[in-house]
């Protein structure tokens, strides 16, 4: 049988791959891709906890469902911001975003 730890190991690998990408990437879109990885691993965790530890409840299921909806909204707004930045600066590299720096 599949234990709950197995799912959690996969989810932890996904999460820390996302964190590594967040720390090393220098293009804003690639950073957003890493954020999607992290959000995805938390969704998987919610569903796994619901399924394996409390199969009679539905809280984790609905939390994952709403989390998917919110991450879709988040990436849509973030991509609109990226397109606006590109229109103004002709680049979406992090090192060129220094208008708000002191």
């Amino acid at each position: 049988m599949i234990h709950v730890e197995y799912y959690l190991i996969v989810s932890a690998i996904m999460m820390f791959a996302g964190i590594y990408g967040f720390l090393t990437r220098r293009s804003t879109l690639a950073i957003l891709l890493s954020i999607e990885l992290m959000l995805n691993s938390t969704d998987l965790n919610f569903a796994v906890f619901n399924r394996m530890l409390f199969p009679e409840g539905h809280e984790g299921y609905f939390f994952a469902l709403f989390s998917i909806a919110i991450s879709a909204a988040e990436s849509a707004i973030a991509i609109a911001i990226m397109i606006n930045i590109y229109r103004n600066l002709r680049s979406i590299q992090v090192k060129h975003l220094e208008k708000l720096k002191w």
Partner: protein, 172 residues
């Protein structure tokens, strides 16, 4: 070693390899493609757990919506030829070390903690556990376990998101 476990192993390997490749590949369009594979693998996990509706939502919203949005924005801003800029060796080493230490801590906690797995879970392959009917009842009910308020909040959030996206990305 039944069929369910073999499917799980294949999916786990697939997801782990492609999530590492998402953050290590040099081309950004390839990173988006590998992210698509990771999302499909996660949908496979949901199907394996018996959460078929959640798996379909994952495929439709993430794989069908968000990744397409990413690919479009990559093509609109930098183009597929654009490679990810180089980062210095020291920064990569520092990130790698902190990531590995964090992963080790999390894995240590996960593997030493005794999870109280519910009785009967995982003994037999699961059918469709929660039906569309139940989901609809939960989504629109106002009693103790109802989700009408978050449902409406998400609808307002999506409306705000549409307007915000139009206002931010329009031509001035």
């Amino acid at each position: 070693m039944n069929a369910e476990f073999i499917i799980f192993l294949v999916l786990a390997l697939f997801v782990a390899v492609f999530s590492v490749m998402t953050v290590t590949t040099k081309s950004i369009i390839r990173a988006a493609t590998y992210l698509l594979f990771v999302l499909f693998g996660t949908a496979g996990f949901y199907f394996l757990m018996g959460y078929t509706f959640l798996g379909s939502v994952q495929v439709m919203v993430y794989a069908g919506g968000i990744v397409v949005l990413y690919v479009f924005s990559i093509l609109l801003t930098s183009g597929a030829k654009d490679t990810l800029s180089k980062v210095s060796k020291g920064k990569i080493a520092a990130s790698l070390i902190s990531t590995l230490v964090g992963l080790a801590v999390v894995l240590f906690i996960v593997l030493t903690h005794q999870f109280k797995t519910a009785i009967g879970v995982g003994d037999e392959p699961c059918e469709n556990l929660i039906t569309i009917d139940t989901i609809g009842q939960f989504m629109l009910s106002t009693d103790k376990a109802g989700y009408l308020l978050p449902f409406e909040a998400v609808s307002v959030l999506l409306l705000a998101c549409i307007i915000g996206g139009l206002v931010i990305a329009r031509k001035r």
